[in-house]
Structures are given as C-alpha cells and as structure tokens.
Amino acid sequence: MNLTPSPEQAQFAAALHDLLTESPVGVGPNRVGSERAGVWARLAGVGVTGLLVPERWGGSGGDPSDLVVAAEELGHHAVPGPLAESVAAVPALLRAIGGGAADEWLPELAAGRLIATLAAPPWLPLAADADLAGLVLHVTPASVRLARPGSCHPSMDASRQLFEVSPGELVATGVPAAHALDLGVLTCSAQLLGAARALLEASIRHAVNRVQFGHPIGTFQAVQHLLADVAVAIEFARPLLHAAAVSLTPPATTAAGDGPASGAAAGRAGVDVCPPRDVSAAKVACGDAAVLAARTALQIHGAIGYTEEHGLGRWLTKVRVLALAWGTPSQHRARIMTELARHR
C-alpha cells in the first residue's frame, strides 16, 4: 500500500520543474508551430517523450505512476502540445498493435522526433494540434487508421488548435484500445491537477503581495476561505489520480512490457481496483479541482489576471479546455455509474 511518489519519481518531477522554470514555454497567442515544436525537443531531452515506450524501442519503459508524476509537472507549467496523445495514448496503442507499426514509430516518438495525435470519438471527436503531428490516428473500437487532417479550428486555449479528421489507411483491426485511451485520460487528469496547483500557488502569491484597505488581501477571511476550498479540492483529487495510475498498472506477475493490462484488476491482493471506474473518478476530481482553482485564481487576481500580459489566462483557458477533453465530466460520471451497476 503506497500512493506516494517514490524518491526517484519525485526527483524526476523536480528536474522537470527546474527545466521548465529555467526556460519557460512562453507560448503567447501567436500559435507559432515551430515554437510549440521546440518544446518537444526539451521534453525528449529529459525523457518525457519516451516515458511509456519500452526500452527496446528506445524509451525508459516507465509505468503509469511515472507518467502521472511527470504529467502533473507538465500541467503545472501549462506546457502546450498534444501531450496526453503523444506521450501516453499513442505509445500505448502502438505497443498494443506491435509489429511494424511499433518498430517504425515508437523509436521516433521516444526520441521526440515524431509528435503524434489522435481522434477517438466520442471522447475526442477532433484531433488536437494535428499541424504539429507527423502521425495522426483515428481510433474506434473496431480499428486504428491513419487520419487525414481537415479543417482547423483555433481553441479558446491560444496554444492549441483542433482539427477535423477523416479516417484513411488501415493500421490495425481488433486493437484493444481502451487501456491506451485510459492512459490518455490519466495524463490529462494529471495535467489538470498540476495546473490547479500552479493556480493556487499564483493566487497565494498575489494575495500575500496585493495590498488593499491597508492590508494584504490575503488577510481577509473572504479570500482565505476561497483558497482553503481550492486546497481541499486539490488535496483530495491527487489520491484518486495516483490510485487510477495503480489501477492501470499491469500486475507485476505478467510479462513486463507487452500487451495491454486487460486483467489489471484480477488476482491482485489488496484494495479493489477497476480501471475504467478509477480513471473516470480521477478525471472528474482533477477537472473539478482545476476549474475551481482557475475561477478562484481569476477572482483573487482581479482585473490584472484578465490581461493577456499577466499570463494567468494560459492556465485558465487550458484548464477549462482539458476539463472537457478526453471525456467530459458527464461522460466520466456516466462511466462510473455504469461500472458500479455492472459490479453490484
């Protein structure tokens, strides 16, 4: 029983934090593709892009708990790009497909030379940032196909664009995609939690420094209580995120590195786990915490937070967008209730 990151995982997150603090991913409203692509080289340099890629394809063969610890830090710094797609879902999908597809694309993904994205209706009807991606997939329960990007729609999150796609050349059929898509949901949840933490930290800094009525506004109970509620929401979302990562981790007894964790819940001596239920609970809780943190942060910053120059909007818009990506809160609550009814 342990839901705390290991010292190695904490060290990795700290290194990632330092890297992103030293050279912030200063993505303005300009949607410059080359700038967004430049982020990828740095992420590859510290091993983020190869986290879920097995060692024989040039990755580090990490597990979902490594993934959530790293993704929380990416969210903390509002790193742009199709992260849940390219770092989590597509590598897991390619592992499940195996063969030539894995051999061709996994090493490129791990090295950061290839960015991937995908559409997977109904959770992801549009593909995020397909303009950056050298590999765009269309995923349904029946098949995985290459996808052709069509119309481009700028997102409310200025660092992001969504593309309509049409299914093209077949890559594989009968692929158990659920595990890969849940890893995408997990990554998105971790980004939301990290963004929530950043928003709380920024709000505290502002409340301590901003003086009105002769006092820092952080001395006022109305402000303190708003921030306390955000802290509670974050504090109780993280255990669900970590539990979901455990839920998606294949039991140690199975051969490491191959195949999806379809039997993750079976035969494990401990607390009950159910991947779809647990991942959905994490997504709802992390999304709710992040949206609360974002609204609170804007309210505490006031008008300065509403300016483009301040930068709070990068987190605020990303949070609101990611809370609806990879399955809306309604879709995830429905999945939880379906799973609970199934196992009654």
Partner: protein, 358 residues
Amino acid sequence: MNLDLDEAALAFRAEVRDWLAEHVPERSLEGHAEHREWERLLAGARLAAVGWPAEYGGRDAPPLHQLLFEEEYHAAGAPMRIGQNGLFLLAPTLLAHGTGEQKARILPPMGRAETVWAQAWSEPEAGSDLAAIHSRARRVDGGWRISGQKTWSSRAVVADRAFGLFRSGESRHRGLTYLMFDLRAPGVSVRPIRQIDGRHGFAEIFLDEVFVPDADVLGEPGDGWRVAMGTAGHERGVTLRSPGRFLAAADRLVAAWNDAPDPALHDRVADAWIGARAYRMHSYGPPASPSATKLFWSALDVALHETALDLRGPYAEIDPEWTAGYLFALAGPIYAGTDQIQRDILAQRVLGLPRSTR
C-alpha cells in the same frame, strides 16, 4: 505506487470480516447497557482499539490496519460505538501525553466500556473561540477544585467520566489545564439537552468545586491547550468519521439509485461515490492537514445524505435510515471546529497566508 496489502494486512482484514459476520447483531441495539455489552464483546476479541499497545488490550496495529478495521466495521453495519469519545479523542491524547500509570489505569476499562467517556470542551461563551473558556481549576492540596459550566458534551448523559480544558491561569492559551473528572463526583450535575433528532446526544455539565486528584491531570498544568490540540487533530481527522462510514453509505446510495434510477440525480450520486473513494485513497497516504480532512468529510457527509433524501423523494421523511444519517451529518460542519474555523486554520497554517483580521 501500489494498492497491495501484505500478508499481515490481508489476514487481519479476513479475521475482522469473519468475526463481524459472526457477531454483529441482527437488530439494532437498544439502550446503553446493550451498547456496553457489544463493546465488551469487541474488547474480548481485541478489536476494540486495534491501534493501542497490546498491554492495554490493543494489537499495536499500524494505521493501515485501523483503516481496514473501520472499513469492515461499517460495511458490516455494526453498531455505533458508545465509547467513541474515549476511544477516538481521549485515548490518542493519553498515548501521546499520559503517564504510564494513567495509561494502565484508564485505557483497559475504556476498551471494555466499563468506563464510558464524554468530552467537555465547549462552554456557553467559548464555542468556536475555545481558548476563551472560563471554567476554573483551583489548586488545592493533592489536586484541583473545578467549577463552571460545560456544554454540548457528547454522551455526558450516559458516560461515567469526562475530559476537558480548565482555566488554571490568566494566559489565554498557556493558562489552561487538561483534566479528567468523574461525572458522578460530588458537585457535578448533568442536564441533558435534546437534539434536533429528539435524542439526548449531548448535555450541559455544571461543576461546583469538584475535586480532581493530581493523577488526573493530562500533561503538565498550564499546557492543556497544546495537549488538547492533539486530540482536536484526531477529531478532525480520520478517526471520528473514518472513510469506512462514507464508503458504506455511498454503496447504499448507489444501490438505491440503481433500484430506482433518477437521471436528474445521476451526477450527484456519482459524486458521492467519488468523494467516498477519494477520502479512502487519501487516508492510505501520508498524514494530512486535519483541517483539510474535516472540511472534506463534513461536506461529503451532508452532500451524500442530501442526495439520498432527494432520491427517496416523498418517501424520504419516513425512511429512518437516511433521515437519521442526514441529521447526524448536519452536525459535521459545526462540531470539533466549524468549517469556517477550519478554513482559517488551513489558510493560515498550511497555505501560509497572513493572520486574519476577520
């Protein structure tokens, strides 16, 4: 990270589950005599307080085992614990600050419910502002004489003894002494207060020159605030309303929804289950701020029971299971420090915001 249980934890959980299946009474207990008998039965199986040292009747069990015990206890629908003020509030403080003599004298009969304890914190003029208490402890030969009035004393009507803070000096926080006293001693009178559920859950205690021997001072005289705040942490944290309570209630709520699905309540039922799961997973992690924990469970308890009532609709008011739980839940945001006090503590002590001007 993992959610695995080791062999010892699995064996312990199985033992508790089997024991409860065999012993939990079919009907609900009536009167405190039956409750005391149930506690004796638990103590006989060394299940009354598994976290205590073995020499006092416990099992030296780690916190994880205590959580597993609570999960099994609530899942089995076992009786409310009549000894909970002593078990969950006084005992942790005794183990942290008590002398060897005090622990050996007080804990074993507490575990067997031969001595049932009440808490005596609040006073008419000292509620949220607990350090404002007026009840005095006056030094006399061999001990103290205590006088004053305590209120909202949970279980004082049926309890044998009580514990609380008394003013022994003028300093607001450093003039308080933690004392344990006999509710049947000369000079004590207890007046029951009927609660909104019609029960005598709490009472007023009037104290007139009641003698308390030195042996019943917990910690050093004048150090009572620091000693008591340890207990407050336990009350606000997982011990008094453990995740087990919420898991069992959420499971019942989900089952009720599946029996009569109301689409309008779907998301709220899901949120109640998510909240219970979050509290459970949180409790498996490192110890957290008791204020954050209390804010979380008090809100969850109310939301869960509000949802259950809404689901039962016009039949809710005649459903004693959910109405009792609802009225019980309503006390959560008030006692052991209101939600507003907890937000003050969390903002100032955990988030590092400046002291409030209120």
